[in-house]
Amino acid sequence: MANGTNKLALIASRGSLDWAYPPFILATAAAAMGWDVGIFFTFYGLPLLKKDLNAKVSALGNPAMPMKMPFGPQSFQNINWPMPNVLMAGIPGFEDVATSMMKKTFKNKGVASVKELRDMAIDLDVRLIGCQMTMDVFGFKKEDFIDQAEIGGAATFLEFASDANVSLFT
């Protein structure tokens, strides 16, 4: 704990729409409580710092994901549609459909978009650290990222996290 202030250090390692939420929700909530917050975006989490934020959801590898229809009567919207992975893997464009349905469901329920949460995090002075190594590996350039992103490596994050009360890998 640095000078009496709680501190949260997060690692965001996944960039799909569903996994983009936990780090940004925790970061904004902690910052709203006056905590110092930093997020280290690495591997598939790094694209969450791109100017062009385009997180999608894939049901592949998410066998427990409930698919909800974002329209129609409430009883219809409450149904969990079982979508076997094998089916989705074979349908072109399914990921876009699943993404737009999830976005619509979130919006209907009053959940902020990932972009809104990221803007809120910036507004609340959350430190956003992009992983230099991931940048090099995937061929990203500094200009691909929002101006508020700083670039650093493992040591940069660890120094920040060294006196954090809460550290989470998401």
């Binding site: 929700i25 904004t28 910052a31 709203a32 409580m33 006056g34 009053g110 959940v111 902020a112 609340l124």
Partner: protein, 77 residues
């Protein structure tokens, strides 16, 4: 109620927005001012208590009426 310095309506917004918007509104207020926050997110009841504990602002009132949650918070610092 109706005596608050400012009213913030977070109806329809889900976690973490009620807490985040409350924090933002508090920043623009003066010490001793009170904020009435209204929300429909059931999670805001435990969350606002935790938020007040963490920020040391005073949660004067917190109640629910037919799915609407109302909080009265006093800015202490």
């Amino acid at each position: 109620m109706g005596t608050a310095t400012k009213v913030l309506d977070c109806s329809g917004l889900m976690c973490p927005m009620p807490v985040v918007k409350t924090a933002k509104a508090m920043k623009e207020m003066a010490i001793g001012d009170t904020l009435e926050m209204i929300s429909t997110d059931p999670g805001s009841m435990p969350d606002m208590k935790a938020w007040a504990n963490q920020t040391k602002h005073e949660l004067l009132e917190a109640h629910e009426n037919a799915g609407k949650f109302t909080f009265l918070i006093k800015k202490t610092h």
